[in-house]
């Protein structure tokens, strides 16, 4: 066990865990941030996507010891305020994307990262950026439309 100081969603949080523990399980088991989901543990489904310094990353593949002082953002940390959701979350609501909903927080984290580096992505850009996120319910068309909806609104 070892103590780690983590910067998560703008707060300093400390945990005492095995250094090899993936960030995913630190978030879920130790910090009770359960919006980051476990889907495969192999970096193959994207359900556990979080941001490390603003870039989307699979938290199941990142040992907590490798995080250091880098800033982590989870789905719980992207809202504009306590009463206002992130524009990407709003688009997801507007287009009624979710079915079972389990993968959607990971989808949103990938989409937020994509739109940050590419505010006006083409269909191909979206497919490339999102193809690592599996949705078993098959909501891909709505996910793409929601991302395009955000891109269009931000242009106005």
């Amino acid at each position: 066990m070892a103590k780690f100081q983590l910067k998560i969603n703008g707060k300093q949080l400390s945990v005492d865990v095995d250094p090899s523990t993936p960030l995913l399980w630190v978030l879920r088991d130790h910090l009770h941030l359960v919006g980051t989901k476990y889907g495969c543990g192999a970096g193959a489904c994207g359900a556990c996507a979080v941001h490390l310094n603003g870039n989307a990353l699979r938290s199941c593949q990142l040992p907590v010891s490798a995080v250091g002082t880098q800033a982590i953002t989870t789905i719980e940390g992207i809202a504009i305020s306590e009463t206002e959701m992130h524009p990407v979350q709003k688009a997801w609501l507007e287009l009624d994307v979710a079915q079972c909903g389990y993968c959607q927080t990971g989808q949103i984290m990938s989409a937020v990262a994509l739109l940050k580096r590419n505010p006006n992505p083409s269909e191909t850009d979206i497919e490339a950026a999102m193809t690592g996120n599996i949705c078993r319910c098959g909501t891909y068309i709505r996910i793409k439309a929601a991302i395009q909806h955000v891109a269009k609104s931000s242009k106005k």
């Binding site: 192999a42 193959a44 909903g101 599996i134």
Partner: protein
């Protein structure tokens, strides 16, 4: 570390949140929310609620809560079922709170997520619940004002006295209303009078889902909870011989490692009691990662099973289920299935004189179709929370039909029926997998042993290799064609491990004068269960691929060919027990023909395929446009026509159909679980191929037949016909028919 856990015995919490459009609403999170520092107004849920009936509660300040009875695995019953209640209740839908009901089937009449039955089962009771409550509220207001009931109307949660304009909120009279006798009869609105049903409504729990709140079993945490995992044999046909837990027990954070038996010897399994391995090893510890590490240190010896028989009491009465010894493989399954197809089998249906028709045929076409085992792979792997104490057996379970598990839990955990308490978590997908709740019993055993609250988690590998799969199937269609290009006879043989896919009374039965359907099954030790439109999902692919080939053989347009056959079945049905309505079937095909602009592809490179099917009480038909991208097929666009009767929530309905279409394309092209020496060769999502973003169509158009027939389901019906639509379009694109799923494998095999 902040401790934000809430004890599971506390009731639900209300959480004040804001709608994105402004305006406040009360959102519900029935699990304690675990996010530290989030502004929460904890209000004990049952403080001021006045219960009008099992589905409706109202507070004096006019908050209205509607309970969704059915476990939610993504079909949006959390929205559509409460909509039915509220149509009649006439509360303000934008302010209505929706809450997942706990397991209490007597109260909710039915809690059944499966068979696409939610709409049909809820249609009368839920509207009646709404209408009954409304009438009681109106009567209470009438009593208070001293006016006759006929002078009142209701509007958005208020009762209005028409003449005077006086108003009372539902909340103001709820307490009085609850004391009134329940009206024996209430009138329900007719479809033309609906104001909420039939209008597109967004997911009532959308915000909770998208903000990552604790909704799923995987998310559930309580103080003192331990994490458990189970280790099962490395292959079907194997069992635990011995366990050495000594090294694993030394690992940090580990509380216990032990073997246990899931079902008692001689336990008579009911229809949904299917389980894989009866002897498992449990590894229990403080945290997921510690348990994952410790399980690697478990030393277990495995041995081959002997052929056994397990008693089953299910459809068709009590029987013994044969579990054969041996390590099975996909290659051997295929070999045996092809062998079986050559023999005469059990006759399931016979019309006319098929032998004579085949003898006199001008031409005979015969084709054989196969499909592999499929793993459900819901995004949330299997999990269950259990806390068994002397007083009660408490579960948070992702389970499709909780009532079906009751006798199993009671019998195998030695608890009294009245000790059972179960919260029904939102499920991260199900597709049939979560109808089989053996994991509830597993979690119960573990909690009993360690005497603590336990969350059992399957890893993705556990979920995929310890599955209850879609069976592997084969089907052969044979048609007799006369010199005038009439189809005079049809012979279908279906079989599989361990069940046949055959639906002998489905179309084209009823449209063919001479018809023979035969069926067989062989035992296997691979566990199988319902998978989105069981049997239909393969039956449709074979039948609708064959009809396409038959249409071509007799020189007819494939869509018109189907319509012509159905017209014949409508005018002059052959045989008895045809289990489809030819008129509605024709209706979806005609709608599809019109909306797809059949005959002209969407883009000049695309090739089109058509397919239709009827199952689970709804009719579905698709036209898919396929292009080839770097030698690989890509479904670019799909046009769908559906007849599911009255469409309760068009937005949710469209989403369901889109999802089923994408799932169908993915499974048709990529889905397979291969077995070698009893072990699944796919163990995680890196080699079990599920359709991804870039493989999904750019566009899916969904059109509904407009009618006022009582609603039926959408979870399954759009799925089965996708497979053949893809195969039929692929034929046009590459000039070759594909018969064996997954099609991409056959395609690439042919190329090589």
């Amino acid at each position: 570390m902040e401790k934000a856990n809430k004890n599971q015995s506390r009731r639900s919490f209300l959480k004040v949140t804001s709608l994105t459009g402004g305006g406040m609403m009360i959102g519900i999170s029935w699990f304690a929310n675990l996010i530290p520092n989030e502004a929460m107004a904890h209000v004990a849920d049952n403080n001021n609620w006045v219960q009008l009936n099992g589905f409706i509660q109202i507070t004096p300040d006019n908050q209205v809560k509607i309970f969704n009875p059915n476990p939610e695995f993504g079909t949006n019953v959390m929205t559509s079922l409460p909509m039915m209640v509220n149509e009649e209740l006439e509360a303000d839908w934008s302010k209505v709170i929706v809450e997942m009901g706990d397991y209490d089937t007597p109260r909710f009449k039915s809690q059944f997520t499966g068979g696409s039955r939610a709409m049909a089962m809820a249609w009368m009771p839920l509207r009646t619940a709404g209408a009954t409550a409304r009438l009681m509220l109106m009567q209470a207001a009438a009593n208070q004002w001293g006016v006759p009931l006929i002078e009142l109307r209701t509007e958005k949660g208020e009762i209005v006295h028409i003449n005077s304009g006086k108003r009372l909120t539902y909340g103001a009279v709820a307490t009085a209303a609850a004391k009134l006798p329940k009206p024996e009869k209430v009138a329900l609105k007719k479809p033309g009078e609906f104001s909420l049903l039939g209008t597109p409504q967004k997911n009532k729990v959308g915000k909770e889902i998208l903000s990552g709140q604790s909704l799923f079993t995987m998310d559930y945490q309580v103080e003192g909870m331990l994490i458990a995992m189970v280790i099962h044999p490395p292959a079907f046909g194997m069992q635990l011989k011995s366990l050495d837990a000594s090294e694993a027990l030394k690992m940090p954070g580990i509380k216990d490692v032990f073997e246990f038996q899931v079902y008692k010897d001689g336990y008579v399994k009911a229809g949904f009691d299917t389980r894989t391995f009866n002897k498992l090893i449990a590894v229990v510890g403080n945290s997921t990662w510690e348990v994952m590490n410790a399980r690697k240190k478990v030393v277990a010896e495995w041995e081959p099973i002997q052929t056994t028989k397990e008693p089953v009491m299910a459809r068709g009465g009590r029987r013994d289920e044969m579990i054969p010894a041996g390590l099975e493989s996909t290659d051997e399954h295929l070999r045996q299935m092809h062998e079986m197809q050559k023999k005469p089998m059990r006759v399931a249906r016979k019309d006319g004189d098929p032998e004579a028709a085949f003898k006199n045929a001008n031409r005979v076409i015969e084709r054989t179709y196969t499909a592999p085992f499929l793993a459900h792979n819901p995004m949330e792997p299997i999990s269950c929370f259990a806390h068994i104490t002397d007083e009660k057996a408490f579960f948070v379970a992702p389970i499709q039909i909780p009532e079906m598990m009751k006798q199993n839990i009671v019998a195998n955990l030695d608890i009294k029926p009245e000790q059972l308490e179960m919260k029904l978590a939102r499920m991260g997908g199900g597709f049939g997998r979560r109808a089989y709740g053996h994991y509830i019993v597993e979690a119960g055993h573990i909690s009993k042993k360690v005497k603590a609250p336990v969350k059992l988690i399957y890893t993705r590998e556990d979920d995929m290799t310890n599955g209850i799969y879609r069976p592997t199937y084969i089907m052969t269609y044979k048609a007799a064609i006369d010199e005038n290009n009439n189809v005079t006879a049809l012979h279908v043989i279906g079989g599989g491990f361990p069940e046949s896919p055959l639906h002998e009374n489905r179309f084209p039965a009823g449209a063919i004068d001479n018809y023979l359907a035969e069926s067989w099954e062989l035992p296997t030790n691979i566990t199988i269960g319902a998978y989105r439109a069981p049997r239909s999902n393969f039956n449709a692919s074979a039948e609708q691929s064959f009809l396409d080939e038959l249409a071509e053989a007799v020189g007819k347009d494939p869509l018109d060919f189907r319509i012509d056959l159905l017209k014949k079945a409508k005018a002059n049905p052959v045989g008895k027990n045809n289990d489809y309505d030819a008129s509605r079937y024709i209706g979806v095909l005609e709608l599809l023909k019109e909306k797809s602009n059949w005959g002209s592809p969407a883009t000049k490179n695309a090739k089109r395929g058509v397919s239709a099917y009827f199952c689970h009480a709804s009719y579905a038909a698709h036209v898919v446009d396929v292009t080839m991208k770097n030698g690989q097929p890509y479904v670019e666009k799909v046009v769908t026509a559906m007849d599911c009767g009255f469409v309760v929530n068009p937005e949710g309905a469209k989403n369901m159909v889109e999802g089923a279409v994408i799932d169908g394309i993915g499974n048709a092209l990529y889905g397979e679980l291969v077995l070698e020496k009893g072990a699944t060769q796919q163990k995680n999502l890196n080699n079990y191929r599920i359709i991804r973003h870039r493989e999904a169509p750019k566009k899916i158009e969904v059109h509904f037949v407009q009618n006022n027939i009582d609603p039926t389901g959408l979870g399954e019906p759009p799925f089965p016909p996708v497979f053949a639509a893809v195969a039929n379009a692929l034929y046009k694109a590459i000039g070759k028919r594909l018969y064996h799923q997954p099609y991409i494998k056959e395609l690439n095999k042919q190329k090589a």
